[in-house]
Symmetry: C2
Subunit: 468 residues, 2 copies
């Protein structure tokens, strides 16, 4: 290390960590900044969001999901140490203790600047049988590979009547339900919530329920799994609930994730109520001049409620990495927060949301009107015009847009982006009715569904104001 | 007419006029407001934008394009007089002179409030042979029917080697080129501009040119039509330019439209530099308390340049009608202006734009940086990921977004809406890089193409600021 050279240490080699590394390297040469990155797994910079599509067969190869390999990072003068886990952060001593998971040796590495990008870990309910072979999470590429190995073994054994049980009906749950349908399994989804997709209001979740049932998926809502049952071979054979047993060749867990912040907690770094690291707008850990954090291990500011949330999503992780890399590299950038946009699909059903649900708005102390409309993705007379339902929440009195949820077919999901920008800009639903959105019959009805919803919301706000 | 009843007279029975009528009727009962609407054609409330798809066969029936028939309007207590042309507006006398085009009689009708929604007329170059049978505009449903009659006659005569020449390469021109391809014609487009789609910058227009050529369309740019040549039967047989002749069974004119404001001009109402009526933000004709105007016959405020423009587009016409009907009916609404969003397609090529082109920005006195990026509609590894090119203009120094143009395949076009909302909100490209847009592999790369362009624009603004 030359006297003016600084060392940046990064913990975690996926989206946030390696984006930070790449951006810092763009801004600072190896002479100025040494970059050491530790990754405990076997892969870097991959799309965890793509795992369901790899399992389902839409994506051919595991390597298709890898945006940049360890070798590619090393070519950019990043000292990347794979299969190496950081097991302690010594904040006052400005050093981390790393352990080589292959060889077993431990060593300290000093840092001038530290980036924590340890990601999230999937929740794993402590149920009897949960560790049986055939029960799989889908958080990492390694998880995906293990699941595919199980599936291929199952498919070698028999060609018909293969059964999968998915536990959980959030994004991962519904995407894995699709994947297993694509692979030809009979699929049961066991879901603790009253409806699938608890990131939507229940009335919109019901539309997802109906569509999934229509796809031949058995939906079991409002039900807790009590036990994983195993066969004589020790492998999973069924999922038990209080009232029933659901036979299963494979069980997939999609019950959510938590920030992976044990290391940070032990180091005394500040965590929020969801267990994620707390940062400032430049993604610096609060109270620590030289430590940054980003990706699935942090909490982000929800611009709609003014509160922190934990959202594990690759697009945020990449933005965090970009911001961290810019700041670490001596430039300047901020991550102002999120409005809570998410989009997903189950076969041809598209599901999207942004902003606040009814219960979020209530929890934030906001009072609102809510409207729901049906419209189509294209002019009604144009081939392929597909139905969608749009729900819109607007604040009472002010008419400020609070949230939008969309459930529909092709062309529905990404329409949520218009609402996401309108939320970011603080628009009222009245302002939204005048938005100059692209119109031509193959792309939209003459009133885009978002505009139809905004018009109805305007009327609801007016009626509410007049009556109270 | 009861003593307190007012009479609203509407000139023009398409989108703007009949939306105004419907909205006014929602707010005011027949006892309060009599509504008389004059339409010189045979149809009401139809989608002119849908005509290319009817001609091309994607839409089966003419009536599919009619949102509401005369009978349906009459059922809502609107006194709709079809095939009746208003031939004079007596502004001081508050009355219009109408002529029954079937019977021939003329009569005056008094109004308390007047709505002018006379639409646009297609430009028809004064060329030798322009009136020959087989030369068609596509502005009205009647025009569409006449064209289809010609095509069916051609198709009865021979099954191969049918040739269509489209004059003009704007929205109508490219959409009609697609329609004729769909009908199995050999298509030549003769275009005065250097590239097709002059609503784009030439570099983006070149992408459209290349794609159209790839579709087998013969593109003749930078060329004026000099003459329409006819055969012994008097019907069109070719289109002549200075250097060549292009054989044609049918010629379709798509050289733009002008506001249909002869009536308004004769009545002394204020017209703008593009020939359209000038209104205030409530869509009231400037200087006239009781006259409103909307749709293709008015000029609209371009929020980006602060100048008036003429944009013939059904979505604006519907909004104008809605605003006019609200104000006429005693409620309140405004049309704040446009940012100039438009979207179109030629077969699988999607074309979109919003805001200012380079030459618009220069004309408005703005200096800017311009960036162009390539990205995909979905995660690169996800099936169906389609290429798109996004061009983004940002103001120097401030980094304010000025415009976006997109040319690509499926999933490209409607992405322009994000930029349209950002323009409306006055966002900078730096703010845009943090936009919380929907991400999942089937819907977007982890950085949405709009975000990729915004990031590059941020870098360009910074570099420009640093260097000057």
């Amino acid at each position: 290390m030359s006297s003016t050279q600084e060392r940046l240490v990064i913990i975690g080699g996926d989206a946030a960590g390696m984006s930070a590394a790449s951006q810092a390297r763009r801004l600072r040469s190896p002479d100025e900044l040494e970059i050491v990155a530790f990754e405990r797994g076997r892969f870097t910079s991959y799309s965890a969001c793509g795992i369901p599509y790899w399992v389902g067969g839409a994506v051919d190869e595991r390597d298709d999901l890898v945006a940049r390999t360890p070798e590619e990072h090393r070519e950019r003068a990043i000292d990347l140490r794979m299969r190496t886990e950081v097991c302690r952060i010594d904040v006052p001593g400005r050093r981390v203790l790393a352990r080589d998971l292959e060889g077993g040796e431990e060593y300290w590495t000093a840092y001038d600047k530290l980036v924590i990008a340890t990601g999230a870990r999937p929740l794993r309910p402590s149920l009897p049988g949960i560790d049986a072979p055939g029960v799989h999470g889908v958080q990492t590429l390694g998880d995906g590979q293990a699941l595919i190995d199980t599936l291929e073994r199952t498919e070698d054994r028999r060609t018909e009547g293969r059964r999968a049980v998915v536990v959980g009906a959030g994004y991962i749950g519904v995407e894995m339900a699709e994947a297993m349908i694509q692979r030809g399994y009979d699929v049961t989804v066991v879901n603790r919530g009253k409806e699938p997709m608890s990131t939507l209001d229940p009335d919109m979740g019901r539309l997802v329920h109906d569509a999934m049932t229509g796809l031949g998926i058995e939906m079991v809502n409002d039900t807790e799994v009590t036990k994983i049952l195993t066969g004589d071979d020790g492998r999973v054979r069924a999922v038990a609930t209080e009232n029933a047993e659901y036979p299963a060749d494979v069980v997939i867990l999609g019950v959510g994730v938590r920030p992976e912040t044990e290391l940070a907690r032990e180091a005394g770094l500040p965590l929020g109520e969801h267990g994620g690291l707390l940062t400032d707008l430049a993604m610096r850990v609060r109270g620590h001049e030289n430590i940054w954090a980003g990706g699935d291990c942090v909490e982000v500011l929800d611009l709609m409620s003014g509160r922190e949330r934990h959202i594990a999503l690759g697009t945020h992780a990449n933005k965090h990495g970009q911001v961290i890399g810019s700041n670490v590299g001596g430039s300047y950038a901020t991550f102002p927060g999120v409005v809570g946009t998410a989009v997903s699909k189950v076969c041809d059903l598209e599901i999207a949301r942004t902003g606040l649900r009814e219960k979020d708005a209530l929890a934030a102390g906001l009072r609102f009107v809510s409207v729901t409309i049906e419209s189509t993705s294209r002019a009604g007379y144009y081939p392929g015009a597909a139905l969608m339902t749009v729900k819109m929440l607007a604040e009472r009195r002010t008419g400020k847009l609070l949230g939008v949820q969309i459930v529909g077919r092709e062309g529905a999901g990404k329409r949520v982006d218009v609402a996401a920008v309108a939320l970011t800009a603080g628009m009222t639903v009245e302002q939204m009715t005048a938005l100059d959105l692209g119109y031509a019959p193959p792309f939209s009805p003459v009133w885009d569904p978002i505009l139809v919803a905004a018009r109805k919301a305007v009327a609801a706000v007016r009626a509410d104001t007049a009556s109270s």
